[in-house]
C-alpha cells in the first residue's frame, strides 16, 4: 500500500484529500499543518508520497520541499496548487517536485496524479 503524508494548513483540505486518497486505496501515513512539521514527519514516517500545499505558515511548501529533498533526493513530492500559482509550481518542479494537483480537487485527477507518481 502506498503511504501518503498529507500537508496542508487547513484541516478541511486535509480531510478532503484524505477521503479521496483513502477511497482510492492509499494509506494515510500522517498529516502535517505546516512545512516544518512536514519535514519532521517525513524523517519519522518515511512516506512514499507527500502532498504539499504551497502557502502555509511557519515554513511554506517550497522551503519544505527543499528540506525534504535534502533529506531524500528521491522523495516524491506532489504540490497542491490553485489557479494563479503557476509560477510557484514551476519553481517547485525545478526544485524536484514530481507532480502537482490543482484546487478545487477533482478526485479522479488527484488519484491519477498520485498513482502515476507512485508508479502503481
Amino acid at each position: 500500500m502506498v503511504r501518503v503524508l498529507v500537508v496542508d494548513d487547513t484541516a478541511f483540505m486535509r480531510k478532503l484529500l484524505k477521503n479521496i486518497l483513502f477511497s482510492a486505496g492509499f494509506d494515510i501515513a500522517g498529516e502535517a499543518e505546516n512545512g516544518k512539521q512536514a519535514v519532521e514527519l517525513y524523517k519519522q514516517l518515511k512516506p512514499d508520497i507527500v502532498t504539499m500545499d504551497i502557502v502555509m505558515p511557519e515554513m511554506n511548501g517550497i522551503d519544505a520541499l527543499k528540506e525534504i529533498k535534502k533529506l531524500d533526493p528521491n522523495a516524491k513530492v506532489i504540490m497542491c496548487t490553485a489557479i494563479g500559482q503557476e509560477q510557484m509550481v514551476k519553481t517547485a518542479i525545478k526544485l524536484g517536485a514530481r507532480g502537482y494537483i490543482v484546487k478545487p480537487f477533482q478526485a479522479p485527477k488527484v488519484i491519477e496524479e498520485l498513482k502515476k507518481v507512485a508508479g502503481v
Binding site: 496548487t81 489557479i83 503557476e86 509550481v89 514551476k90 518542479i93 525545478k94 514530481r98 507532480g99 502537482y100 490543482v102 478526485a107 479522479p108 485527477k109 491519477e112 496524479e113 498513482k115 502515476k116 507518481v117 508508479g119
Partner: protein
C-alpha cells in the same frame, strides 16, 4: 470446423472493434496505431485462413500489405476512410459467415481503391517528409511526441514537469515548439533527444495527464542527411502491450451462479429457523460460518460480473466521427474514466441510451461550425463522455458545449403537442423534464440520426428501471450535461418490506423518498381521489390493498412516498416490516407480462415476496 465458428466470429469481431478504435487514433496523427491495426488484420487473416474463408483471407492479406507500406508515413484522410470502409466490409463478411456460413461478398471495389491509393500515397509522403525532417536536431536519436490531456488544468506546468523529468534520463536536443512555448502551455509537442527509449518510456508512463505519447527511434545519421533524399526508417514504437490472464465466461453462467447463491441464502435462512426452533447451538454456529462464506461468495461473483465501461464506450468515437462528418460538424470527442466498472447487465442495458444521448449531443447540441464561429466559440465542438464511481453509485455524464436546451422552444412545443396548457406556469426544472415525455421532440425535422424524439423517454425509463436516476443540466449557448446515476448492480437491491393484507411486498429503496403515518388529519379525499398532505403539499395516493384487491388489516396505515419521473406519489400500506437487501428473481414465462411487479424475492423463511415496480404500477391507464 464448425465447433470453432462461434469463437472465431467473436474474436474476429473484437479485432474489428479494436481496429475501429485505432483508425481514429491514426486519423488524429498517432502513427503507432498502424502497428495495432496491422496486428489485428494479421490475426483475422490467420484465423480466416484456418477456417477456410478464402475471400476474407484475401481481403485481409491485401490490407495487411497496404498497411505495412503505411508504417511511419503520414496517413491521409482518404486512407482512413478506406480503412474504415474495409473494416465495415469485414464486419459484413462476418455477419454473412454467421448467417449463411459463406464469406462471398464482393470486395473488388476496396481492392481497387487500395491499389490506386498505394500509388498516390507513395508520392505525397516523399514530399512531406523532406520538410519535416529539417527540424530534426542534428544528432538526436529519439523523436518523442507528447499530447497533454485536454482537461489538464495547467498545461504549461505539466509541460515543464515533462521536460524536467525527461532531462533526467536523456539529453534534449530540440523541441517543437520551443521550450518556453511549452512552458506557456501547449497541447501537443515534439521532443528530439538523445537517450535510451526504454528509460524515456518509463519516465513518461509515470506522469499524469498525458493523453498519449509515442517514442520513435529516428535512426537518421548525419551521413544519410547529406544525401538529398532522406528516408525515415520505420520507427520502432515502444508501446506497453496489454496482457491478461483471463477465461471467457458466458454471462448466463454467471447469472446461474448468482441464482444458486440466492438459493443458498434462502436455505441458510431455513437452517437458522430450524436451529432456533430446536435450540441446537452447534447448528446455529455452523450456519453463521456458512453465512460468512456465502456473503464472500456473493461478493466475488458480483465482482466477476463487473466489466469496464470501456467495453461499451469504445464504439462511440467511431460513431461520433461518422455522425459529425455526415452532419458537417466539427466535434472533438473525449472519454474519461474508461476503467470504471459496472455490472455487465446494467452496462449492456445502458449501451443504447448512452448512444442515443451522444447522438443527440452531436445532432442537436453541437452547432454547425459557422454558427459556432458567429457565437464566438471555437469551430470544433466538444463532447465529453465520462464515467466514475461516486460512493456506491456509478455516475455517467454526457456533456457538450453546444447550444443548450432552449426552454422557450420546449414550452411552445409542449403547448403545440397538448402536453401542457398555455397558461401553465412551469419552473425551469419542470420545463426541462418535459423532454422526457414520450413523443416529445424539439427539433423541427426528425433526422435520420436522432429519430423522432422517441429516445429521451426510453432513456429515462431504462435508467429508472435499473434503479438509477437522471439529471439534466443545461444552459443556453453554453451546453448541456446529462448526469446518469446508476447502481453498480441490479441483481441485489436494497428494499423496503411492507405488509399489505397479510402479504409482504418489497419496494426498491431507490424509489422511496420517505414514509409517513396516515391518519385522518393528513389523508384527504378530494373528488373521490385520495391525497396525502405532507408538509403542505398534496400527494396523490393509492391504497395498495385496493390495487391488489385485498383487505387492509390495520387501522394505522403507513404512506410510503415514492418518486416517479420527478413526481411524488404515496403508496399506502398496512405497515413497514423491515429494510433489507434482496436478491431479485425476474418473472419469467407467462408471468413476465404482469404489470406492477419487476420480479420476486424469497425471504429467509421461504416467503415469496413480489417486488413492486413503481413505474409500471402507477404508469398504467388505470392511474394515468
Amino acid at each position: 470446423m464448425s465447433d470453432y465458428k462461434a469463437e472465431f466470429l467473436q474474436e474476429a469481431r473484437e479485432y474489428v472493434e479494436l481496429m475501429n478504435q485505432s483508425f481514429l487514433r491514426l486519423e488524429k496523427g498517432d502513427n503507432s496505431a498502424i502497428d495495432e491495426i496491422f496486428r489485428a488484420m494479421h490475426t483475422i487473416k490467420g484465423m480466416a485462413g484456418f477456417m477456410g474463408y478464402k475471400n476474407l483471407e484475401n481481403l485481409c492479406h491485401r490490407l495487411e500489405s497496404f498497411l505495412s507500406e503505411l508504417k511511419g508515413k503520414e496517413v491521409s484522410e482518404e486512407t482512413v476512410d478506406l480503412l474504415l470502409l474495409s473494416s465495415d466490409r469485414i464486419s459484413e463478411i462476418l455477419n454473412k459467415i454467421e448467417a449463411e456460413n459463406s464469406d462471398e461478398i464482393d470486395c473488388d471495389d476496396i481492392l481497387d481503391s487500395i491499389t490506386s491509393l498505394e500509388k498516390k500515397e507513395s508520392k505525397t509522403c516523399e514530399k512531406k517528409e523532406g520538410g519535416d525532417s529539417k527540424r530534426f536536431a542534428e544528432d538526436a536519436n529519439l523523436r518523442i511526441e507528447i499530447k497533454i490531456s485536454d482537461d489538464c488544468a495547467m498545461k504549461g506546468v505539466r509541460g515543464l514537469l515533462i521536460l524536467e523529468a525527461l532531462k533526467e534520463v536523456c539529453e534534449i536536443k530540440a523541441t517543437e515548439p520551443e521550450e518556453s512555448k511549452i512552458e506557456e502551455g501547449c497541447d501537443l509537442f515534439l521532443v528530439f533527444a538523445n537517450g535510451d527509449a526504454k528509460k524515456v518510456d518509463e519516465v513518461l508512463s509515470g506522469i499524469a495527464e498525458i493523453e498519449r505519447y509515442t517514442i520513435s527511434e529516428t535512426g537518421i545519421s548525419k551521413k544519410e542527411r547529406k544525401e538529398d533524399k532522406i528516408e525515415e526508417k520505420t520507427p520502432e514504437v515502444i508501446q506497453p502491450q496489454k496482457k491478461s490472464d483471463s477465461v471467457r465466461v458466458d454471462v448466463k453462467v454467471l447469472d446461474t451462479i448468482m441464482n444458486l447463491i440466492g438459493e443458498l441464502v434462502i436455505i441458510k435462512g431455513r437452517l437458522l429457523q430450524i436451529s432456533g426452533k430446536y435450540e441446537i447451538p452447534e447448528l446455529s454456529e455452523a450456519v453463521s460460518i456458512m453465512e460468512k462464506s456465502i456473503t464472500s461468495l456473493q461478493d466475488e461473483v458480483m465482482k466477476v460480473r463487473m466489466v469496464k465501461v470501456e467495453r461499451v464506450f469504445s464504439k462511440f468515437p467511431r460513431m461520433v466521427r461518422d455522425l459529425a462528418r455526415k452532419l458537417g460538424k466539427k466535434v472533438e470527442f473525449v472519454m474519461e474514466g474508461l476503467d470504471t466498472e459496472l455490472d455487465r447487465t446494467v452496462l449492456d442495458e445502458m449501451s443504447d441510451p448512452i448512444m442515443h444521448l451522444i447522438r443527440n449531443a452531436v445532432d442537436h447540441g453541437i452547432e454547425s461550425p459557422e454558427e459556432r464561429k458567429a457565437k464566438g466559440k471555437s469551430e470544433t465542438g466538444l463532447i465529453k463522455l465520462s464515467a466514475r464511481r461516486e460512493k456506491n453509485n456509478v455516475v455517467i455524464e454526457i456533456e457538450d458545449d453546444g447550444r443548450g436546451i432552449d426552454l422557450e422552444k420546449i414550452r411552445k412545443k409542449a403547448i403545440e403537442r397538448g402536453l401542457i396548457s398555455e397558461s401553465a406556469q412551469l419552473s425551469e426544472e419542470e420545463l426541462k423534464n418535459l423532454i422526457f415525455l414520450p413523443g416529445f421532440s424539439t427539433n423541427d425535422r426528425a433526422t435520420e440520426i436522432s429519430g423522432r424524439g422517441v429516445g429521451m423517454d426510453v432513456v429515462k425509463t431504462t435508467v429508472e428501471r435499473l434503479g438509477g436516476s437522471l439529471k439534466l443540466i443545461s444552459e443556453k449557448d453554453r451546453g448541456t450535461k446529462i448526469r446518469i446515476n446508476l447502481p453498480p448492480t441490479v441483481a441485489i437491491i436494497k428494499s423496503l418490506l411492507v405488509s399489505v393484507g397479510g402479504q409482504v411486498y418489497a419496494i426498491p429503496l431507490s424509489n422511496v423518498v420517505e414514509a409517513v403515518y396516515v391518519d385522518s388529519n393528513n389523508a384527504k379525499n378530494i373528488h373521490g381521489n385520495l391525497f396525502l398532505i405532507v408538509r403542505g403539499k398534496l400527494i396523490p395516493s393509492f391504497r395498495l390493498s385496493q390495487l391488489f384487491g385485498c383487505e387492509n388489516g390495520k387501522e394505522r396505515e403507513v404512506g410510503i412516498i415514492v418518486e416517479k419521473e420527478s413526481e411524488k406519489y404515496a403508496l399506502i400500506a398496512d405497515s413497514i416490516i423491515d429494510q433489507q437487501e434482496i436478491v431479485v428473481k425476474p418473472l419469467t414465462g407467462y408471468l413476465s407480462k404482469i404489470k406492477g411487479f419487476s420480479g420476486v424475492t424469497i425471504l429467509g423463511d421461504g416467503t415469496v415476496v413480489p417486488i413492486i415496480d413503481i413505474s409500471s404500477l402507477l404508469g398504467g391507464d388505470k392511474f394515468g
